[in-house]
């Protein structure tokens, strides 16, 4: 059942580094993160990797495996052939701290720039009444485990550092859509989605949707509807007026 696999793992810090070769034991049912852990325990005790739950729920172990953004804990070794060399590198869009660990502070900064949930002032805790069907749209986006692989893969910033200040990436554009579709959120988010977070940069290539480990339809269900809402706003002053006059039904 077990065999020796060939791995190339990116190692380095401070902007410098290279791929290092390893030969390492693989057992039945293991995932790439298991192999990284085995390297730590047996060959490279200071090999840096971020991880927490090892069950696809926390979004910590994002890395690029053979060039594709993946969660290390959800990538089974059985998806590779035994003679295949597996290359593991850190996410490309964010600066590397060491080995497979990136500085993902870009994402936390962008998160802080999205205005928070804004409920009506007169609804007290315990009084919220929402239909299941109305919460489901936003619930889909709240499945997000913040692995940041959608932001990592998005071509707007993947090779364009210069776009980072103006573009919040799929993760946080989806967060805006989530709030916009929340039955009780009363903030106006359309203009800022376009102006402050760069929704217009997205040209719906769906790379984000493809890498999402939670299978959230980021492009179809969050970004495109958000673009439509922005367009409605731009071209239809009545829609804008209506949204100001009529509060969303609260039950």
């Amino acid at each position: 059942m077990s065999y020796k696999a060939k791995f190339k793992v990116w190692r380095g810090e401070g902007g410098e580094g290279k791929l290092e070769d390893f030969t390492v034991e693989v057992n039945e049912g293991e995932v790439v993160l298991d192999i990284i852990h085995r390297l730590q325990a047996t060959q490279a005790p200071d090999l840096a990797v971020r991880w927490n739950c090892k069950a696809g729920k926390c979004g910590s172990c994002s890395m690029e495996i053979n060039g594709k953004p993946r969660l290390g804990c959800m990538t089974r070794m059985s998806t590779f052939t035994e003679d295949e060399t597996i290359t593991v590198t850190p996410m490309r869009t964010f600066p590397v701290i060491k080995d497979l660990v990136c500085d993902v502070s870009f994402n936390y900064q962008k998160a802080r720039e999205v205005p928070s949930f804004t409920p009506p002032a007169d609804v007290r805790p315990g009084e919220y009444r929402m239909k299941q069907i109305d919460v489901e749209r936003s619930q889909e986006f709240r499945k997000c485990i913040e692995c940041f692989m959608c932001n990592n893969v998005c071509h707007v910033i993947r090779d364009h550092e210069e776009n980072k200040p103006a573009f919040s990436g799929p993760r946080f554009l989806m967060r805006i859509a989530e709030l916009d579709m929340h039955p009780y959120d009363v903030a106006d988010r359309k203009e800022s989605a376009q102006k402050d977070h760069g929704l217009g940069y997205c040209n719906i290539t769906k790379c984000c949707t493809e890498v999402c480990p939670e299978h959230i339809k980021i492009t179809d269900n969050a970004l495109i509807p958000m673009k439509e809402r922005v367009v409605d706003r731009k071209y239809d002053p009545l829609v804008w007026l209506g949204s100001k006059i009529f509060r969303r039904p609260s039950s």
Partner: protein
Amino acid sequence: MEIERHEYDVVVIGAGGAGLRAAIEARQQGKRTAIVCKSLFGKAHTVMAEGGAAAAMGNVNSDDNWMVHFRDTMRGGKFLNNWRMAELHAKEAPDRVWELEAWGALFDRTKDGKISQRNFGGHEYPRLAHVGDRTGLELIRTLQQRVVALQQEDYETHGDYEAYIKVFAECTVTRLLKDGDAISGAFGYWRETGNLVLFDAPAVVLATGGIGKSYVVTSNSWEYTGDGHALALLAGAKLINMEFIQFHPTGMVWPPSVRGILVTESVRGDGGVLRNSLGERFMFNYIPEVFKDKYATTEEEGDRWYTDQANNRRPPELLPRDEVARAINSEVKAGRGSPQGGVFLDVSTRLPAAEIIKRLPSMHHQFKELADVDITTEPMQVGPTCHYIMGGVEVDADTGAAAVPGLFAAGEVSGGMHGSNRLGGNSLSDLLVFGRRAGAGASAYVDSLPSRPAVSQESVDSARAEALAPLERSGENPYEVHAELQRTMNDLVGIIRKASEISEALEVVEKLKERVHLVGAAGGRIYNPGWHLALDLRNMLLVSECVAKAALLREESRGGHTRDDFPGMNPEWRRKLLVCSATEDGSAVTVEEKIQPGMREDLLALFEVSELKKYLTDEELS
């Protein structure tokens, strides 16, 4: 090298549910608050909670109220619980859940638009507020986003997001500092750079979670190394109930690399059944005497309960976790286990596929991706996994204050609330209720101080030397010491215990304590996991010693402590808590017995005398 220095009113260690709720409270009370956590913000172990948060809102069954929840909690903990904590918890949980909704949480709904509630083991009525089977993620994201909302308010007012609340992510605390008896700060290191950092603060809230990483088979992540338990001990606080560890009955058993990963109790709450290799629903053979009149005795009655709870009793698959875990253990030992050493948990024959995917999406995903099992068409194989420690820092129920002035604790790291066994769903509500209380307690304590305690240079110097020591040695591999500790605790102080094995474990722990002083960490200070583990080992060993020593002393079986050599529950032992303390250098742990204060009259009156007789001594009943 220069040590980075920060001044705060309240330092919260840990950014799971309890830590974030504590920090939010401290900030809302105007305190300058630091959140220090080992992982990135929003990754704490709370994300793994699946089933829900128990709160007697009565949205699904209006007969539910705090008194029923209180009774269920005490029964689940076999009456060893700190009754005041159980009371506060049952009374305040609904407000804490509703508050989350006002901060943006989107729970699943009832038909009339309220928060939906689901059934769970040991809860008399459907009580768990939930979002599919990813409730923990919803909880942590909501609290994380609440912290951000407060930071945005501070930005508006002060022009600085971090004026009143700042997250120190990937930062590990290695020592609490004291001025005389009182807390004066905390010392640690940045994982990213290896630089050292000092927090000058009169109040520290521990919210570090549990200890599962001392066991091989566990549902816990790498962070669960008992840091808060150990920091409290080393600062002179006391731990109680350390012998009580919850082995969740349903962890994955195959493939080996995922052994221990949690399979939510919601599978059973939503109709899943346990079967052995003979196809029997064996739980009917394991209903203990104290629960005999509350559980169905036939499969037919158990099945009817899902649709008619007023006229039927619940199926025994929904007994408290300790009972189910022991039953699975016995079935496997008797040779009636599944091929990979567990039992079968089947929901595929109980619900339509679409319903399973809707109610249990992450279980469906997890089994499909990690084990090639489609839970809509075939049974899962499951077995017990080390999941939760009931024991922890002994605290004042109302404020979360530990015995050391300025030290507070909330959530899994605190002890008492759950007695000898925690009910599923009572953890998420626990960390909201007591996180808030600890944040408020710490704030009030800071207000009451005439002057700030001072950090002494001497204490900083020794903390620095301790933190850097593994880097300066070229000794044994820390991963090997860790693996031996995990095997030892798993095999000798696991789900079923006996004196000879626990004693053997204690001997191993003594040897490992010597070895840990020799472990070395190769490499530099930047993001060096070998170094981090070498430092965590001190905590794991200290906590393991507490668990083993308390387990050896308690000569009865109750909740998360089962002694093969003392199989019965003993009312005399119910009155006693085992209290652990340690020497300042952590070289030795002592355990003392302490009598629990008796339950308040009005709370006692919530139970029938016939039920109390099963737990209390004659003297207590008279």
